[in-house]
């Protein structure tokens, strides 16, 4: 019971600390405009045709990065199927023996 209380206090303290850091980060000066940022804001929608700048970046300028994410998902699905199927094989062998 005692250690449970201590854990709760620690968790609350950690959350408050995180909130403090976030507050600092949000109140601080926003990143000053760099060349890349200015270019993207100015030409992003025109060059890719997408009004949504986020989409313009992740499917226009960084499409290769998106391709990597797609491959990650493909590998994850493949892994799930592989491990589930191998466990089933093991179950069947256990039943047979």
């Amino acid at each position: 019971m005692k250690s449970g209380h201590l854990l709760t206090v620690l968790e609350v303290a950690l959350l408050l600390l995180t909130a403090l850091f976030l507050l600092q980060a949000l109140q601080g000066p926003h990143p000053e405009s760099s060349d890349v940022r200015g270019y993207l804001v100015e030409n992003g929608s025109h060059e890719t045709g997408a009004l949504n700048l986020v989409t313009a970046i992740y499917l226009g300028y960084r499409a290769f990065d998106t391709m990597g994410e797609i491959v990650v998902l493909l590998v994850a699905v493949t892994g799930v199927i592989y491990f589930a199927a191998s466990r089933e094989r093991k179950d069947e062998e256990d039943h047979d023996s």
Partner: protein
């Protein structure tokens, strides 16, 4: 586990709208918040709601495992083909082949629309597949 009437009814009424909203997010990702990944996950959550409430067997007759895995693989291959189309048009791998075409003839955004729809189908099919595959009972 006992299934309540509320869960049964709500899931059946809500799931089509979740799938529709997912498709909306896919097809308007270039204009409003949304996009392939988000739309795909919303579609998958619709499928997940269906099989949590109705059982994997019923849902699998609507979204068969074979179809889901085929959609997943086909969308990936089509995505690669779309990337190679950019290469063929001289814009580089995954480049926009519409960049050289007159904007009034073919909107430049059409390539992003294609990417978004393909990614959304792939993510939706993949996540639905994984969740249904792990939740299926009795083999």
């Amino acid at each position: 586990m006992k299934k309540t009437t509320i869960l049964d009814l709500v899931s059946r009424k809500l799931a089509p709208f979740m799938l529709l909203f997912g498709l909306y997010l896919l097809s308007y990702g270039h204009m409003s918040p949304g996009g392939g990944f988000q739309g795909g996950v919303v579609i998958a959550s619709g499928v997940i709601l269906l099989f949590v409430a109705q059982g994997v067997g019923t849902t699998a007759s609507l979204f068969p495992f074979r179809t889901l895995s085929l959609v997943e693989a086909a969308a990936f291959l089509l995505l690669l083909a779309a990337g190679l189309a950019g290469l063929a048009a001289g814009a580089g791998f995954l480049g926009n082949p519409m960049a050289g075409v007159d904007v009034r003839a073919v909107p430049r955004v059409s390539m992003i629309l294609v990417y978004n729809v393909l990614i959304g189908l792939k993510v939706g099919a993949g996540i639905s597949f994984v969740c249904m595959y792990l939740f299926r009972e009795g083999r």
